[in-house]
């Protein structure tokens, strides 16, 4: 009984502290809005799509001009073919940020109507190993990296092979938009993407950037890649996912990076994992170290993580 009261007081104190932190974060993000709309990475003056998506998700419940100008920015820089570039002024080729922009626009109820074109672009785009010629090469000649080329996902940029993070984001975007625009083709690509993620897991659990084994050596998993891949695999109970969650729980202990911890909090929150409380406390601690929040992506992700952990809203949640 006494312990329970103590825990409630402790949680309330933490909650107030987090609310203050969230308010502070959101105010700082709004202050750093570019006059042209959106947010730049680092100290740059050119808005990038990735940064803007995170910040837009972080400010989803605010009603200031920053949120609206971010939506305008995303709609303005969208390419003719429905894809998104990496940043304002980039070549109009489209890249992995297309999935992230779709997730962000849906989350803030932007009233985005051009989704079919963007989904088509995502479905046309695939890792180069998905082509029969390269598939054959990876199966026969090039065995340096061990993976099954029948299971392919999405590249960072068209014309290259599949990688974990772009595949995970695209699987999330397709799952989220499936409710309104689902087709058999979308369902198939979602399954293929999920198969690819599981195929490329590291032997010890979790994910590196791409393959788990290169030249016979197991690669070390990364915290952020693992957390993002787990978001795409939510509500699944595959042994690979379970092993990845176990690895992530251990990797987060003592992790000093607010960027990695924010992604982990979002992943634990999505999976309703008991490690959430501990990871959340570590994020809180990391955010108070000024050097850890020097970049705007981290500030945005931290705000998303706080909201997700409090059960308010999680932009990466798949219904």
């Amino acid at each position: 009984m006494g312990m329970s009261i103590f825990r409630q007081i402790f949680c309330l104190k933490n909650l107030i502290s987090f609310m203050v932190l969230l308010e502070h974060n959101q105010a700082e993000l709004e202050e750093r809005t570019l006059t042209t709309g959106g947010w730049a990475s680092g100290s740059g003056s050119r808005a990038t799509v990735e940064t803007t998506c995170y910040v837009l998700m972080a400010l989803h419940d605010r009603s200031g001009p920053a949120r609206n100008s971010a939506i305008d920015f995303l709609l303005r820089v969208r390419n003719q073919d429905g894809s998104w570039p990496a940043f304002e002024g980039d070549d109009p080729e489209g890249c992995w940020t297309t999935a992230l922009a779709l997730i962000a626009l849906r989350f803030v109820n932007a009233g985005f109507t051009g989704v079919d074109k963007s989904l088509s672009w995502l479905l046309e785009n695939k890792g180069r190993e998905g082509h029969w010629c390269w598939k054959w090469k990876f199966k026969t000649v090039d065995r340096a990296v061990q993976f099954n080329p029948d299971k392919f996902g999405w590249p960072w940029f068209p014309g290259t092979v599949s990688w974990i993070i772009p595949t995970a984001f695209t699987v999330i975007a397709l799952k989220q938009w499936h409710a309104c625009c689902g087709t058999e083709r979308i369902t198939d690509r979602i399954h293929l993407g999920i198969d690819m993620l599981r195929d490329r897991a590291c032997p010890q659990g979790g994910w590196n950037a791409g393959n788990g084994i290169v030249f016979g050596a197991a690669l070390k998993p990364h915290v952020d890649s693992t957390a993002i891949a787990l978001l795409a695999l939510s509500r699944e109970a595959d042994p690979v996912d379970i092993q990845a969650l176990k690895w992530l729980r251990e990797a987060c202990v003592g992790c000093p990076s607010a960027f990695s911890l924010a992604w982990s909090v979002i992943a634990f929150s999505t999976h309703e994992d008991p490690a959430l409380d501990h990871c959340f406390a570590d994020l809180h601690r990391a955010l108070f170290l000024k050097d850890s929040v020097s970049n705007i992506e981290t500030l945005g992700l931290a705000a998303i993580a706080i909201n997700a952990a409090e059960g308010k809203a999680n932009p990466f949640m798949v219904i």
């Binding site: 940043f87 960072w156 030249f215 990076s257 050097d291």
Partner: protein, 302 residues
């Protein structure tokens, strides 16, 4: 002309066209100095003594860095315990200190790790974050810097242009600081290959897979022709041999190699490693226009 003659003539024309294509000059400028200079410094271990060692080593070159902005580009890839994967943090700190003592206007450390998106975490794990904070040296994550579309000064990859970080393009004096390693795809990873890390992940991915598909050797040549490192400080105190760049084993060379020509430095280092520099495609080709490959035009400073 009968059918045999026609086939022979066609084969000859095709062969000549292909030969011309491969022998065509693909660079716009010859950067090779008349004489390249290198210095080989002995260092048993990573310690505070590196500060003085590097300062004395740099003074041998009489470098004019007064009032200039210096960018140190180390090789920071992944933190794997017991594996000498990255340029040592203490050596980077010592280099920064040495350039400041030579009156550089500013010294910045910049890197765009190939696979790791969480650069803060990597800086923490490698000890570079603490090292730079202690010495009050700024770090720029080149993966997320502001970008400028830049026309490549050579045409090996066929890419034509690359978006490159403003920090790199605005620097007066770029120093490539590789970890001396073997590499399963390029043979070695030295000062030229190290420049791969200036290409921004936010535009080319993590890893920079666009460049892999355009050809690793070819991309290295195009990058180095466009942003030629002015100086090299190579970390060979503990090098890596075998299955590099991540899973090789430590090789104690106990040496830091300095050089005012990246090709001369790389060819010297490959010889050190028991590899013929001509057998590494990008070093061989770089010897035609980026710097000097032949020992006869490389002078060792003592």
């Amino acid at each position: 002309m009968n059918r045999r003659d026609w086939l022979t003539a066609s084969a000859a024309v095709t062969g000549s066209a292909l030969t011309m294509r491969f022998q065509r000059r693909r660079y716009s400028r010859d950067f090779r100095p008349k004489i390249s200079r290198i210095a080989i410094l002995n260092a048993d271990q990573y310690s505070d003594k590196l500060d003085q060692l590097l300062f004395d080593g740099l003074r041998l070159f009489h470098l004019d860095v007064r009032g200039k902005s210096v960018l140190l580009k180390p090789n920071i890839v992944e933190c794997i315990p017991e594996k000498p994967v990255n340029t040592d943090a203490q050596l980077i700190g010592a280099a920064a200190e040495a350039f400041l003592r030579l009156d550089a206007a500013s010294v910045i450390v910049g890197e765009g790790p190939g696979h790791h998106r969480d650069t803060d975490l990597l800086l923490h794990e490698t000890g570079l974050g603490d090292q730079l904070a202690h010495r009050k040296i700024a770090f720029v994550d080149l993966n997320r810097d502001e970008l400028i579309k830049t026309r490549l000064q050579a045409n090996y990859s066929g890419l034509g242009n690359l978006w490159l970080p403003r920090t790199v393009l605005a620097s007066d004096f770029i120093v490539s600081m590789p970890k001396v390693k073997t590499h399963h795809w390029t043979g070695v990873t030295l000062s030229l290959k190290n420049m791969f890390g200036i290409v921004p992940g936010c535009r080319y991915g993590w890893p920079k897979n666009v460049l892999h598909w355009a050809g690793i050797h070819e991309s290295i040549l195009d990058i180095c022709a466009t942003v030629r490192p002015r100086f090299v400080i190579a970390d060979a105190i503990v090098a890596m041999e075998g299955d590099g760049p991540l899973n090789g084993s430590a090789r104690y060379l106990k040496t830091v190699v300095l050089g005012d020509d990246p090709v001369a430095a790389d060819s010297t280092l490959t010889r050190f490693m028991g590899i013929r520099p001509e057998s590494v495609a990008h070093i061989r080709e770089a010897g035609r226009f980026i710097g000097n490959l032949q020992q006869s035009v490389i002078s060792e400073l003592m």
